[in-house]
C-alpha cells in the first residue's frame, strides 16, 4: 500500500524514558527515532560524546551503559530506558582528572581530541574487567576505536602506565 509521505510527520511519536546519566536520574520525553548519541548531546546537553561515523565503526560516540561500552550512534534513546549511562563528563571529579585521563595527557595520547572521549569510555569499561598488562592487550583494548592523529602509541603507553600504577597500588595495599 502506498504511503502518502507528504503527510508523514516524523515527530508525532514520543516516549518518556527514565535514565541515570553520570549518577543523576531523570525522566525525558524523547522522539522514538532519536539516536542515543543525539539524545545525550542535544537533549541532555553533554557534548563530550562525539559522532565520527554514525555507523558504529569509529567508536567516537562510545558511552558506558550498565557497565558495558556501547556505541551510542547505534542505539535509539528509547532503548536506554531504565539504564545507567556514563559519559566522558563523568570521569573527572570536581575538575580533577582521573588517573587514566592524566596518563593520556602525560603520554600525549590525544591531539585533536575529537575521538578521545570514545577511547576513554572504551578503556574505562575494559579496565573494570581487569588490568591490561601487555602492549598487545592494550592494542586489543584500543582496536575498537579509530584515531587519525596519534598513531595510538601514546595511548598504548598511557594504558600500560595506568594499569601498572593500579597494580602497584594493589600490591602495596
Amino acid at each position: 500500500m502506498a504511503v502518502d509521505e507528504s503527510r508523514a510527520d516524523p515527530v508525532e511519536d514520543k516516549s518518556w524514558i527514565s535514565v541515570t546519566i553520570n549518577g543523576s536520574k531523570q525522566d525525558y520525553l524523547v522522539e522514538q527515532r532519536l539516536s542515543l548519541a543525539d539524545f545525550i548531546r542535544n537533549q541532555v546537553g553533554l557534548k563530550g560524546t562525539h559522532l565520527g561515523c554514525e555507523h558504529g565503526s569509529c567508536g567516537a560516540c562510545t558511552v558506558i551503559i550498565d557497565d558495558r561500552a556501547v556505541r551510542s550512534c547505534l542505539m535509539f534513546a528509547v532503548q536506554s530506558d531504565g539504564s545507567s549511562i556514563e559519559t566522558v563528563e563523568g570521569l573527572a571529579i570536581d575538575g580533577v582528572l582521573s588517573p587514566l585521563q592524566e596518563s593520556f595527557q602525560a603520554n600525549h595520547a590525544l591531539q585533536c581530541g575529537f575521538c578521545t572521549s570514545g577511547f576513554l569510555m572504551s578503556l574505562v569499561a575494559r579496565l573494570r574487567e581487569g588490568p591490561i598488562d601487555t602492549e598487545s592487550e592494550a592494542r586489543e583494548a584500543l582496536s575498537g576505536n579509530i584515531c587519525r592523529c596519534t598513531g595510538y602509541s601514546g595511548m598504548v603507553a598511557a594504558i600500560l602506565e595506568q594499569s601498572n600504577s593500579i597494580q602497584g597500588i594493589k600490591e602495596n595495599s
Binding site: V11, E31, E54, R148, V156
Partner: protein, 783 residues
C-alpha cells in the same frame, strides 16, 4: 632527545625545546572541547544536502514540492535560487596552461561527480532535513563517466566536462640538465610503472559551517572548522561582494583533525552563510561520514612511468618521470602534482632530470592536499627505483643511497627545478648521510641479512625497506601573530592560523614566554578568529611552525622592547640596565627596584583619562608581526621497515619500523614526536590498507569504515624514532615543518620491504596499497 642549537646569542631559552604537556588537554579529556557541533547553536536551523548519485549527469528537473510540505522543513535552495553566488571557486594553485573548468558552489546543470551538491534543505533539525532530501524528486539524464586517468586519456573516450575537447587539465614539463642526452649515454637505464591509488584525509570530525547574520551591525559571523579562516573569509567577501570587515570568520577553538581536506574551499562554505543572510535566521550544516567520503577532497591517485640512468658504480645520471595525476572533476588546486614533480629527486644528486605531469580530469570528487600532499607518491617512485638500481647492480640498498646523497657541505643545494611556492627548489640545510647512517646503525643490516637468509631457509619471507625524502615546508606568503600586554598585566598571543590538534596554545606560549622572558603561566594563546588579527593564511603544508613561529618570536621581541622602555621611564634608568623575568621588569643590579607588568599596563594601556604621558613612553603595548619566508625550508627524513610476508594469505606484518627525522630546531619535542607518530600511522594506511575504490562508471565503492580500512591500534606498530637537527638558516628560530614527515616515506619503505621479502618469487611491487590481493598477485600472478 631534544637538542636546541643556540637560537640567538645571549638568549636564555627556558621553555622552547621542552616537551611541555599541552594546555589543550584538560578540556578535551573531560568532554569540554569546543568543536563546531558542540557550540550552543540551539536556535539554529539545520541543513542537509542532496548530492548527486551519478558520476556524470545532466539535471533535467528538480521538484521540491513534496519535500517542502514536510512538517518542519523551512526552505530548500537549489542553484536556481542562488544565482548571485553561482560564481567560480578558483583553484588555490593554478598554471597559465591550465585547461580550466569552472567549479560552482552547487550543480547548475551538470553534476560531474558522485557527491556534488545539488540542493540544500533547511529544517528544524537534521532528521527532518534528511527526510526532506529523500522527498526531492530529480530527473537526471545520465552521461558516460570517466573514472581514471587511463580512461581520461583514452582517444575518443567520453569527456569529464560536456563541451570540453580534452580531459587533460594541465601538461607541464620541468627539466634540469639534459635528460634526453643523458638517457642515451647512461651505461644502465631501467624503467618501471607505478600506481598509487586514492585515499582520504578522514579527520574523525567532518566538515562543518554555521552562520548568523546580525541585521543591526550588518555583520555576518561564520563558524567554519576550516584550516584557513582568513582564506575562507576572503573567498566569501569576494563572492558575496562584501568587505572583509563585514565577515567574521571563526574557526572553533577545537577542530577535530584537518590533514588537508579542511584547508580547501567548498561550495557548502559559500551556500550556508548566504542562505543565512537570505533567511535572516542562523543555520548550521555538519557533514556526516557518508558525505565526507563522497564530497571532501582526497588525494594520491597517480600513475608514474619512470626511467633512471646510472653508471657502473651506481651513481645516478638521469631521472625521467612522466606521471598521470587524477585531478578529479575540478581543479581545486595544482599544488599536489606540482609538489610531486619537485619532490622526486629527494636527497640525491641527480644532474639530469625530466619531470613531466599530465594532470587529468575525472568524474570523481576533486583531489587536493592531504597529509604528504603529492610527496608520498614521488618518494615511493624514487625509492622503489633506488632499490631496483641496487638489485640491478647487486648492491645493498643502503649503499646505493650512500653513494648518491647530497653532502652536508653542499647546502644551499639547488636541484634545478621549481618548488610549489614558485621559488627555485633550493634545499636550505640538512644532513642526509646522518639520517641514512642513523638508520643503518639502528637496523644492523648485516645481521638482518643473516636473519633473512635463515628465515628463507625455513620458508619465511622477511624484507627490509628504506625510504628517504626531502620535504619543502614553511611556505609563504606570510603568517601573522599579535602579542599584547593585557590590562591585567598578562600576555595575550593571537595567532591568525588555527590548529587541528597541533597544540598551538602550548607551543606558541613557549615561544612568546622565551622571547619576552616572562613566566609562561602569564601567556595565553588564542587563534582562529579573523576579528582578532586582520591577515593570515592558515594551517597547511607543514608551514605554521616556520612562519607563525617566527612571527610570534618577532612580535614578542618588539613587545619586550616596549616593556623595557616603559620600565626605564618609570624607574628613571637606562634600558640596558634592565632585566625581565617572572611578572616584572627590574634593574639587574638592584632587583628590588622593579615594575610589574600590571603597572606597565596601567600606565601605557589604561592611562589616565585626558592626561599626557612623557613623549618617549611607549603606549598601547601591542605588537603585530608578519613573517614572510623567502622560500620553503626543507625538512628531511628516512623510514626503515622490516616486514614478514605470509605467502599463503598475503598478509604483511611489520616487525620493525624506524623513522629518522630532521625538522631543524624542535620547539616542543613531545608534540613533534606526536606529529611523526600520527603521520606514520597514515603512511601505514596508505601503504597497506586505505583505498578509495571507484567503479568504472565512477561510483565510489568505499563509503563507510566497513569498506575503507582505516588503521587501528592493531595495524600500527610504535616506530622507533631518532632525530637529526639541521636548523634552518632562513628563520630566526631555525625551525622547519614536522606535520607530514611521518607519512611521506612510509609507503615507499613498506613497498621496498615487501619486494625484498618476495625476491625469491621474483615479485614486482608496483601498486599501492599492498592489500592481500595485490600481494598474492605479486607472488603468483606474474611472468
Amino acid at each position: 632527545m631534544s637538542q636546541i642549537s643556540e637560537i640567538k646569542e645571549n638568549l636564555t631559552v627556558t621553555n622552547i625545546g621542552r616537551g611541555m604537556i599541552r594546555r589543550e588537554d584538560p578540556r578535551l579529556l573531560t568532554g569540554q572541547g569546543k568543536f563546531i557541533d558542540d557550540l550552543p547553536f540551539s536556535d539554529f536551523y539545520e541543513a542537509a544536502i542532496l548530492r548527486s548519485p551519478h558520476a556524470h549527469a545532466r539535471v533535467v528537473s528538480i521538484d521540491t514540492e513534496r519535500a517542502l510540505k514536510l512538517s518542519g522543513v523551512i526552505a530548500i535552495y537549489t542553484a536556481a535560487d542562488l544565482e548571485p553566488i553561482m560564481k567560480d571557486l578558483p583553484p588555490k594553485v593554478s598554471h597559465p596552461k591550465l585547461n580550466y573548468q569552472i567549479r560552482l558552489p552547487m550543480v547548475k546543470e551538470y553534476a560531474n561527480y558522485v557527491g556534488e551538491p545539488i540542493a540544500v534543505v533547511v529544517a528544524e533539525n537534521r532528521y527532518i532535513a534528511e527526510d526532506a532530501v529523500d522527498l526531492i524528486e530529480i530527473e537526471y539524464e545520465t552521461l558516460p563517466a570517466v573514472a581514471s586517468t587511463h580512461a581520461a586519456l583514452r582517444k575518443g573516450g567520453p569527456k569529464v566536462h560536456i563541451g570540453s575537447e580534452s580531459n587533460v587539465a594541465v601538461h607541464i614539463i620541468q627539466k634540469a640538465g639534459d635528460p634526453e642526452a643523458a638517457l642515451k649515454t647512461a651505461p644502465h637505464v631501467i624503467r618501471e610503472t607505478f600506481k598509487i591509488t586514492r585515499g582520504g584525509g578522514h579527520s574523525i570530525e567532518g566538515r562543518g559551517v554555521a552562520a548568523r547574520f546580525d541585521p543591526i551591525t550588518q555583520q555576518l559571523t561564520v563558524w567554519d572548522n576550516t584550516q584557513a579562516p582568513h582564506y575562507v573569509r576572503q573567498m566569501l567577501a569576494t563572492i558575496y561582494g562584501m568587505t572583509e570587515d563585514e565577515i567574521r570568520l571563526i574557526a572553533p577553538q577545537d577542530i577535530g583533525g584537518g590533514f588537508g581536506p579542511k584547508a580547501q574551499f567548498y561550495g557548502e562554505e559559500v551556500v550556508i552563510p548566504w542562505i543565512v543572510m537570505q533567511m535572516k535566521h542562523p543555520v548550521k550544516w555538519v557533514e556526516d561520514r557518508w558525505e565526507n567520503f563522497i564530497s571532501a577532497t582526497m588525494e594520491r591517485s597517480q600513475t608514474h612511468r619512470v626511467e633512471v640512468g646510472f653508471d657502473e658504480d651506481g651513481h645516478l645520471l638521469v631521472l625521467k618521470d612522466v606521471f598521470e595525476h587524477d585531478q578529479g572533476a575540478y581543479c581545486v588546486g595544482l599544488q599536489v602534482p606540482t609538489i610531486t614533480m619537485s619532490t622526486l629527486p629527494g636527497p640525491y644528486v641527480i644532474p639530469n632530470i625530466h619531470s613531466e605531469l599530465i594532470s587529468c580530469y575525472t568524474n570523481i570528487v576533486p583531489t587536493s592536499s592531504l597529509r604528504g600532499a603529492g610527496r608520498p607518491q614521488a618518494v615511493t617512485v624514487m625509492e622503489r627505483m633506488m632499490d631496483r638500481i641496487a638489485e640491478h647492480l647487486g648492491m645493498e640498498p643502503a649503499e646505493i643511497r650512500r653513494r648518491n646523497l647530497i653532502q652536508p657541505d653542499q647546502f644551499p643545494y639547488a636541484v634545478g627545478l621549481l618548488f610549489r611556492d614558485g621559488s627555485p627548489l633550493t634545499y636550505d640545510s640538512g644532513n642526509y648521510p646522518a639520517l641514512l647512517e642513523g638508520a643503518v646503525d639502528r637496523i644492523d643490516i648485516v645481521k638482518f641479512r643473516r636473519d633473512q637468509a635463515e628465515a628463507r631457509s625455513q620458508g619465511r619471507f622477511l624484507g627490509l625497506g628504506l625510504s628517504m625524502y626531502v620535504e619543502g615546508t614553511g611556505i609563504g606568503p606570510y603568517e601573522g601573530a599579535r602579542v599584547r600586554l593585557t590590562n591585567s598585566g598578562k600576555i595575550l598571543v593571537t595567532l591568525a592560523a588555527s590548529p587541528q590538534g597541533q597544540g598551538y596554545e602550548t607551543v606558541y606560549a613557549q615561544v612568546a614566554a622565551d622571547a619576552i622572558g616572562v613566566d609562561i603561566d602569564l601567556v595565553e594563546v588564542r587563534h582562529g578568529d579573523t576579528s582578532s588579527i586582520p591577515y593570515g593564511q592558515g594551517t597547511f603544508a607543514s608551514r605554521v611552525t616556520a612562519t607563525a613561529g617566527p612571527a610570534v618570536w618577532e612580535a614578542s621581541e618588539l613587545l619586550k622592547s616596549d616593556l623595557l622602555a616603559v620600565a626605564a621611564s618609570l624607574l628613571k634608568c637606562d634600558v640596558s640596565s634592565l632585566a625581565l623575568s617572572g611578572n616584572s621588569v627590574f634593574i639587574e643590579s638592584e632587583p628590588e627596584r622593579r615594575v610589574l607588568l600590571y603597572d606597565i599596563a596601567l600606565v601605557s594601556n589604561v592611562g589616565r583619562h585626558g592626561m599626557s604621558v612623557p613623549r618617549d613612553l611607549p603606549i598601547a603595548i601591542e605588537r603585530t608581526a608578519y613573517f614572510k619566508p623567502v622560500q620553503a625550508v626543507y625538512s628531511s627524513g628516512i623510514s626503515a621497515v622490516i616486514v614478514e610476508v605470509d605467502p599463503e594469505t598475503g598478509k604483511i606484518e611489520i616487525l620493525k619500523s624506524l623513522l629518522g627525522h630532521d625538522c631543524g630546531n624542535v620547539l616542543n619535542p613531545m608534540i613533534v614526536e606526536g606529529q611523526i607518530l600520527g603521520g606514520h600511522a597514515h603512511g601505514i594506511g596508505n601503504a597497506i590498507y586505505e583505498e578509495a575504490r571507484y567503479s568504472e562508471d565512477g561510483q565510489p565503492q568505499a563509503v563507510s569504515y566497513l569498506d575503507y580500512a582505516l588503521p587501528t591500534a592493531i595495524e600500527v606498530p610504535t616506530p622507533e624514532l631518532f632525530h637529526v637537527f639541521s636548523p634552518s638558516p632562513l628563520n630566526p628560530l631555525g625551525v622547519k615543518g614536522a606535520g607530514e614527515g611521518g607519512t611521506i616515506p612510509v609507503p615507499g619503505a613498506v613497498a621496498n620491504a615487501v619486494e625484498d621479502a618476495l625476491r625469491p618469487f621474483g615479485s614486482r611491487i608496483c601498486e599501492l596499497p599492498l592489500t592481500p590481493e595485490r600481494v598474492l598477485r605479486a607472488i603468483y600472478d606474474h611472468d
